[in-house]
Subunit: 222 residues, 2 copies
């Protein structure tokens, strides 16, 4: 039997995993909406974002309540504080998926993404899905070896992001300024999504190992 | 005489104000670096960002220590948790100033900003400086009326941000794709900077009034 504190902490951990699932689903659907100019899918992602916000709000309220009632110290205290930071990362990931969906909606019935970048954006969507799924597993399992893999996915995302800039800066961009603006923003949304997933994973590693990262590293950006 | 807890809290509040000062100074210098293609100023902003990171790290460590030692409840507990959230906002504002400085550095010896957008970017820099200074005053004074003013500055930032898009989408953009990408990113950095300042102010209002905002609102983005 676990004590009340650790039961509460398990529930918080479950909610964080649920947030990774929702954020991943949102980004997967946003990617399809963007590439297929699917307005219904885009609207669905935009409308569903409040679910993630709601879980975060409840999770944070419960965390503060837990601090007040149980007054944890040492590792237990760090776990609760870290959970609140992870919920902030995950809520932001939901926002970024919504931003992608909004670009899809703005350009409907066209797709915002020109043919030359389709494969690239498709891959960014796939990496985003993979990285947030791994972040969820890491929260659930505390398997810090998996966190190393997730850093490799982030490197892949950075490579795909640079590839967008290479296309934009090649001097051969022929899709106009509007498409350049869209590609710039969308690229940044995917990259930030991955940064926050890395941040989540690093926070778990920190809890398990106590190994210090700088805050800039913990926030997924060096 | 204030008790030990409130003395510690005062110190945390002082550090938050210092972070607003550093973030404001960084963004002011980054704006000048960007408009004047001043590489030394840009390098200075990039190099100085670790100071804000360092204050945040110490502030968060002290906050966690405070939770462990003093085990505050109710409003006192919320103040400490909120201080950690504000430190995250302010650290991120430092990152965004650094991002602007990096665009300046990347395009040196040219300015990344074409003539048609110079006045616009200058104003964004001024609004950014003003909004973070107000956020600092609000933290120091708990003057929640000032928070209303700050929302107006944020509206002004949004207007300036839209103006960049209007220029980019006018069909008359003649400065090439690279300049369009730079303007898109820079515009977003300023806008996010203001969002985080709004977030800081709303958190103070929340502490003072207990009036609930959604987390999305508290994070400065609806």
């Amino acid at each position: 039997m676990r004590d009340a504190f650790h039961e509460d902490l398990d529930k918080i951990s479950d909610d964080l995993v649920e947030m990774t699932r929702l954020a991943g689903s949102a980004m997967a659907r946003a990617t399809t909406a963007l590439l297929d100019a699917d307005i219904h899918l885009a609207e669905g992602v935009i409308a569903a974002d409040h679910e993630i916000d709601q879980i975060r709000r409840e999770l944070d309220d419960r965390s503060i309540d837990l601090l007040a009632r149980q007054q944890p110290v040492a590792t237990d205290l760090r776990m609760v504080v870290t959970a609140m930071r992870m919920s902030a990362d995950l809520e932001r990931m939901g926002d970024l998926a919504r931003h992608v969906a909004k670009v899809a909606r703005l350009r409907y019935p066209q797709s915002a993404i020109p043919p030359v970048l389709r494969a690239n954006v498709l891959q960014m969507g796939q990496v985003a899905e993979r990285i947030v799924a791994k972040a969820g597993s890491i929260i659930a399992s505390k398997d810090i070896d998996a966190a190393v893999e997730l850093e490799r996915d982030d490197d892949e995302m950075d490579r795909l992001h640079r590839e967008i800039f290479n296309q934009l800066m090649s001097g051969k961009w022929e899709f106009g300024t509007e498409a350049a603006v869209d590609a710039t923003l969308v690229g940044r949304y995917y990259e930030r999504f991955a940064d926050h997933a890395v941040s989540v994973a690093r926070r778990v590693v920190y809890l398990v190992t106590g190994e210090w990262h700088t805050e800039a590293e913990l926030d997924g950006e060096e």
